[in-house]
Symmetry: C3
Subunit: 152 residues, 3 copies
């Protein structure tokens, strides 16, 4: 099954126009390494949820936001490469969760992102990861995820 | 125009002796990848501004600090390579802003760094980026920026 | 002296089974680059210390936790590669310290990690670094450290 067929099966429609929040680009590749900028849970150019996990947002809403970050990352890669079929491995996720004091379930938020990548890419979706709880994020986003991958 | 000529035109004088705040080195390169350690807004070995963006520091002061981080990063690269002309691309910026509660303009702080790189390097300065708001930074710095680049 | 002989001399015993806190893997390598996931100060599957540096934990306890993160990172690499002798360079440390308001000694916490790498690897242990203070970490850990290295 191709990656596109898996996305279709999962009912995931990738955004076609990646959005950046400033003077940078969504994706840079060098050699076979590909770096995706920190993604926010944007949907049609609007942020889908705001606030801190553990107070304004529950765990499930933060997990939905994390999944949306991954969908946006994949949309940015597709716009950059023309196709996701060139990806050979997801190397690393960097997950920053905007948290209320005392919220230590960053790993559970990040798991939603990790598991989606595994569903889509199978073994090639297995990645290294760091997940931390930060004080604030751009646009008061609950989560920001950057990604490193390899391509053919 | 060479990079040095662009720096001259912009009136930017790079520090010649990079400073680290501990038991690490300012720059490590491997293959054609170059990693610059997290830079603080140091000037002549002193931190040029301290405190949190959004309370002790306004947006403009935080942006000045972000530009100074980039100047220090370029100074560290020049000390490491002997010249900036060997750089082929700025791959990624990692921007950590020391923020007061409720300050969500990290992207605007980071833009000051991104725009300076674009002024100096043109298209080769276009990079991926992550920008988050953190709880504290070394020396009570308002911003810390790490950088990944490629060289010939 | 081999790396294993240095570890023996320092009395360091590496964990044999790396632990992850979620749906990711401890180590991913691509080409000669190796990415180690964010490590917590786990010991026998339990976290050895919890809380924020500067309030619940003093500097020395946070430094011990940082050293334990490095030991776990090396254990993860050994489990992945079979041996540490294949490592050619520690490229970068990413140090996230869970801090109480006003604690700005992140660099001193991170130095404990950096110095241990230098003791074990000598010049090949010299690395670039970023160190920031974050609002919360998984399991209420005082520190999380991710690592990038190169191999033969």
């Amino acid at each position: 099954m191709t990656i596109q067929e898996k996305l279709d099966k999962l009912g995931i429609c990738l955004p076609t126009i990646p959005t950046t929040m400033g003077a940078y680009v969504p994706v840079v590749s060098t050699g076979n390494l590909l770096f995706v900028s920190g993604q926010l849970p944007l949907c049609d150019g609007q942020i889908s949820a705001t606030g801190k996990a553990g107070s304004q947002l529950g765990l499930e809403q933060a997990q939905q936001a994390a999944r949306l970050c991954i969908i946006n990352a994949l949309g940015a890669i597709q716009a950059h490469l023309g196709t996701l079929e060139q990806l050979t491995r997801i190397i690393r996720l960097e997950v920053f969760v905007n948290i209320a004091p005392g919220f230590t379930d960053q790993a559970k938020v990040a798991n939603a992102a990790s598991e989606l990548l595994h569903e889509i890419f199978g073994p090639a979706g297995q990645h290294a990861r760091l997940a931390v709880g930060v004080a604030e994020l751009p646009l008061n986003s609950p989560v920001e995820i950057a990604l490193i991958a390899t391509l053919k």
